[in-house]
């Protein structure tokens, strides 16, 4: 049957439609469901109340991350240390009980594979190209980096997936973000996605699924692609994805949940067929020249508030939209910044290297390269490096990266969401500034009154060394 050319997203969508109703709503099959402690307890409770089972426990994987403290989890004798906050402890205990009770694989808080759910999925080969992946967390978009259709859902939807392995959805529009050319020295996937959000705005992708295309993404590592797709949600899109290729296949081969042998060969053959057809139409296209992108940092309280590191804090009047002017004024007030101040003069007291955006091995290597043989500046009160998973942590330790971090004055932590959101003990104090590799600079995101500047791991390391926002290219020979 000759069919019209389709995009990657449309091919994955079509392959998962169970039923389509007249008004266009589809019942979509879900291949992989990741579960963490914060958005799942009420869903499990509701299943119990209604006497329903988990339809496909084999397609579900649970791991704690959001609430878990990142300090030592075992004492010297190897016993589990208690969690001080009783509410966090109760949420974690609920997951630990619910997962086995419903027959779901559970990665324990002290297991070597434990980590942030969006780092663990691809790393375990649980997230696969061409699959539909959901999780009760908006940064599920990350898994698009391996060529999956992945998006965050609310708790009722978590329950819906647990009970039926499907979701009721309407198909999104398609948006192409094409980036061609070469990223300059010191310009990383994080700088690229911050720049993209600056261009399209936080509502730019609303109602769309983004496909990132162009030679920049073809050359990009799988880890870099996960970073880019992770922040699709900050651009308003529920999902973002990149066509799976040999890099992705090499990344996944041999991972714990990945297919093997003849299955692997069949899988790869199917994955290759998913790339957007020549002539397929996107509803919207944005073209960006890679050469325009510089190391980028955020100045305000929305992820679209970004400027190149060589720039200055913008004046609210520089925005044409009056509501944006007003928002900028509020942001600057919250951030304690004056218009016109060069970003490189902004002093920081905290550095956070971690989160599902930037906590994979490549991120830690990039930060360590800057920190090697250096120390954090005296004004930097708190600097932590939080690997995205136990496996990342182990590999970093094998490479000696942990020593570079600790010698530079960083704390080397256990895996978890940490200071990405103020839900566990890692918080930025009120009024203090943090150079952060996470994904949201919202008011209070890293703690009440905390001031967040988003940037790449290398840039966060550079800020640690100088005690202010810094162009990393000045520290490493380029």
């Amino acid at each position: 049957m000759a069919s019209k050319p389709r995009t990657l997203y449309e091919k994955i969508w079509d392959a998962h439609v169970v039923e389509r109703s007249d008004d266009g709503t589809c019942l979509l099959y879900i291949d992989r469901h990741l579960v963490h402690e914060v958005t799942s307890p009420q869903a499990f409770e509701a299943l119990r109340v209604s006497g329903r089972a988990v339809r496909r426990p084999d397609l579900t994987l649970a791991v704690p991350d959001h609430n878990l403290p990142t300090t030592a989890r075992l004492d010297a004798a190897g016993n589990r240390l208690p969690i001080a906050d009783p509410q966090s402890a109760a949420q974690l205990a609920a997951l630990e009980t619910n997962a086995p009770a419903f027959g779901i694989d559970y990665i324990d808080a002290v297991a070597p594979e434990q980590g942030i759910v969006h780092v663990v999925g691809p790393e375990q080969g649980f997230s696969l190209p061409g699959t539909t992946i959901v999780c009760g967390d908006s940064h599920t978009a990350a898994h698009g980096g391996i060529g999956a259709l992945a998006f965050g859902i609310g708790t009722s939807e978590v329950e819906h997936v647990l009970a039926t392995q499907t979701l009721l959805l309407r198909q999104s529009k398609t948006m192409e973000i094409r980036v061609e050319g070469e990223l300059g020295p010191g310009v990383t996937p994080k700088d690229l996605i911050l720049h993209i959000i600056g261009v399209i705005g936080t509502a730019g992708g609303t109602g769309h699924v983004i496909e990132y295309r162009g030679d920049v993404f073809e050359r990009m590592s799988v880890e870099g692609r996960l970073t880019v797709c992770n922040m699709s949600i900050e651009g308003g899109a529920r999902a973002g994805l990149i066509a799976p290729d040999d890099k992705v296949f090499a990344y996944l081969a041999g991972r714990k949940y990945a297919p093997q042998g003849a299955d692997w060969d069949r899988a790869v053959e199917w994955w290759r067929s998913l790339a957007t057809d020549a002539g397929a139409q996107f509803d919207k296209t944005v073209v960006i020249d890679a050469a325009d992108i510089e190391p980028t940092v955020s100045w305000g309280t929305s992820p679209e508030d970004v400027v190149p590191i060589g720039g200055a804090v913008p004046a609210p009047e520089s925005f044409s939209d009056p509501s944006k002017q007003q928002a900028a004024r509020k942001s600057l007030d919250y951030m304690g910044l004056e218009p016109g101040v060069p970003l490189e003069e902004v002093a920081i007291e905290n550095v956070f290297i971690g989160s599902c955006t930037n906590s994979r091995i490549e991120d830690l290597r990039a930060a360590a390269e800057v920190l090697k043989g250096r120390r954090k500046a005296p004004g930097v009160r708190w600097a932590i490096a939080v690997p995205g998973s136990g496996l990342v942590k182990r590999q970093a330790e094998e490479e000696g990266l942990d020593r570079i971090f600790t010698e530079a004055g960083f704390e080397w932590r256990e895996p978890g969401c940490s200071a990405c959101l103020a839900m566990n003990p890692d918080k930025v104090p009120p009024g203090e500034r943090c150079a952060s590799t996470s994904n949201r600079n919202f008011v209070g995101r890293q703690g009440p009154g905390a001031r967040t500047h988003l940037m790449s791991p290398a840039m966060a390391a550079a800020a640690a060394v100088t005690g202010r926002l810094t162009d990393v290219r000045k520290l490493v020979g380029s």
Binding site: V18, E19, D23, T25, L27, Y29, D31, V38, P41, Q42, E45, A46, S50, R52, R55, D58, L59, N67, D85, Q87, S88, A90, Q91, A94, D105, E113, Q124, G125, F126, L128, T131, S138, G152, G154, T155, S156, E159, H160, A163, T164, Q165, T166, L168, G254, R255, K256, Y257, A258, P259, Q260, D263, W264, R266, A267, W270, L391, M423, G444
Partner: protein, 201 residues
């Protein structure tokens, strides 16, 4: 989900615009394992002010809330709907709602009624001293004074609310189609089932 048809009683005349999900339930209430009990945190900041409508004795247990434009904007936290349900609210009347909030409300059996601002203003006035009635079947809001305001509701949502169907119950009516899909998937893409779970190399 309980069946929803007629919701009658006192209505809290809140009237505020842009009530966001942080106002409905502040973030520190999210560390809970239950949907219940969140009523204690509902509208916490508003309720700290003396003389706020929630603490007027006449409105104790009122099943209806009347608010201004853009009710429920902000985060996707379903806790906002749970907190209101726990407070006893079964219907919210406002000139407009955030999409995410109204979706979450619907999933929890809370009816969101959109009426033009003049009608909402009239109801805010009546609600101070008198009960009002929201009828889903006839899609009307009525007062003891012959006010009769019609509202729109998505037919699918109306059906679910009237029959007390939850989306899961409805989806499970399609279990045959789900099983078919699973069979086809197992034949075409067998590696997607029962991942091997072998030890990492």
């Amino acid at each position: 989900m309980d069946k929803v048809s007629t919701i009658a009683g006192r209505a809290i005349p809140l009237g505020l615009k842009n009530v966001d999900t942080d106002v409905i339930i502040p973030a520190h209430w999210l560390k809970t394992v239950s949907r219940e009990g969140l009523g204690k945190g509902a509208f916490e900041t508003i309720r700290q002010a003396p003389g706020n409508p929630f603490d007027v004795e006449d409105f104790a247990g009122a099943p209806i809330l009347i608010a201004g434009d853009n009710f429920g904007c902000g985060s996707s936290r379903e806790h906002a709907a749970w907190a209101m349900l726990d407070l006893g609210i079964r219907a919210v009347i406002a000139p407009s709602f955030s999409d995410i909030y109204s979706g979450n409300a619907f999933k929890n059996g809370i009816l969101t009624v959109v009426l033009p601002p003049e009608q909402v203003d009239r109801l805010l006035e009546v609600a101070k001293d008198h009960p009002i009635t929201v009828d889903l079947e006839t899609q009307t809001v009525t007062t003891p004074f012959q006010d009769r305001f019609e509202f729109e509701v998505d037919p699918f949502r109306k059906h679910c609310l009237l029959e007390g169907l939850d989306e899961i119950g409805l989806t499970l009516e399609s279990v045959g189609a789900i099983e078919n899909h699973e069979r086809k998937r197992a034949a075409d893409l067998p590696w997607l089932d029962a991942p091997q779970r072998r030890d990492a190399a």
